[in-house]
């Protein structure tokens, strides 16, 4: 049983769902400057839970997030770093809604940072899709703004 609880900070809520060795975090709302610190603290607790429960996967569902600032991304980068460095034996799957293309573009940078430990999945698709197959890599490959 996880020690994590559903939390709401300003306009961001985080709900944990534990199923076997997989922990899912469902984020909803706005990840802006008022949520940054709380998100960082929560992700630190997730790291502790991954170690305590020997979890093999953390899914972070951002499909209901409406804004993710660079400061919030920094918290996710900090969370991913020990996985990238092999210090935390766990994989991370970011769950996005491809109906909102910004989510894939945004989180893809983190998958590029940690290609062996992080992946992306469309919430409406059956399986995970890896970045290299599914993402415009350069700004010039974006559709016209």
């Amino acid at each position: 049983m996880t020690r994590l609880r559903k939390e709401t900070h300003d306009k961001l809520s985080i709900e944990p769902l534990l199923a076997g060795a997989k922990l899912e975090l469902v984020l909803s709302g706005t990840c802006d400057s008022f949520a940054v610190e709380a998100l960082g603290v929560y992700l630190s607790q997730v790291t502790l839970e991954v170690r305590r429960l020997s979890l093999s996967q953390v899914a972070i569902d951002v499909s209901r997030v409406v804004l993710l600032t660079s400061s919030s991304l920094k918290q996710l980068i900090t969370f991913l770093r020990p996985i990238k460095l092999g210090e935390l034996p766990c994989s991370v799957e970011f769950v996005v809604d491809d109906g909102k293309p910004w989510q894939r573009r945004c989180l893809a940078a983190l998958v590029r940072m940690c290609p062996n430990g992080a992946s992306l999945r469309d919430i409406n698709a059956a399986g995970a899709s890896h970045l290299s197959q599914a993402l415009p890599r350069a700004a010039s490959e974006l559709p016209p703004a």
Binding site: D32, L73, M113
Partner: protein, 176 residues
Amino acid sequence: MSKRVECSAAERSTSLFVRLSFCPSEHLVSAISQLVSDFCQMGLRDLDISYRFRMAAHELAENITKYSTNSRVSLEVELAEVEGVQMLSVRTRNETSPERLIEVEKRLKELKSAVDPVELYDRMIEETAPLEGVSGLGLARIRAEGGLDFDYEITGNELTLVVQAPVPKPYPMGSA
């Protein structure tokens, strides 16, 4: 500043324009970015474009809130036809410290000249990852993830920063 940003009135036909002057406040940042998003959505009815500019406006508004040295800041959003091309732009103006100006100009030059903005953004993520409490990714993110171009001007201690992109023709006002 580039010709596109500062062209004469004869070359420019503005469809929509909003200017916000405000005292830098963390509490206003989300409201401002939401307004920019609504502005884009009203003019273009394209959620992806609206998000890109919302993200850019949020990052820029956060920056001017963090780094302004006085209470005179502004953010403008404009949809205009410039030399036959529809351009959407967000422009911020603020005064900041000489040290910050040197730092931001270095960053902006690097971003403007980057052949591959995504590679630069990825490199910055790698470089800043070990640093606690420092993001420093906002401007690079606007360029790489948002696919928006930068322009800037520094006059004394005032920084004017413009992010922009060509967009499809706007919907006529009042249409369903």
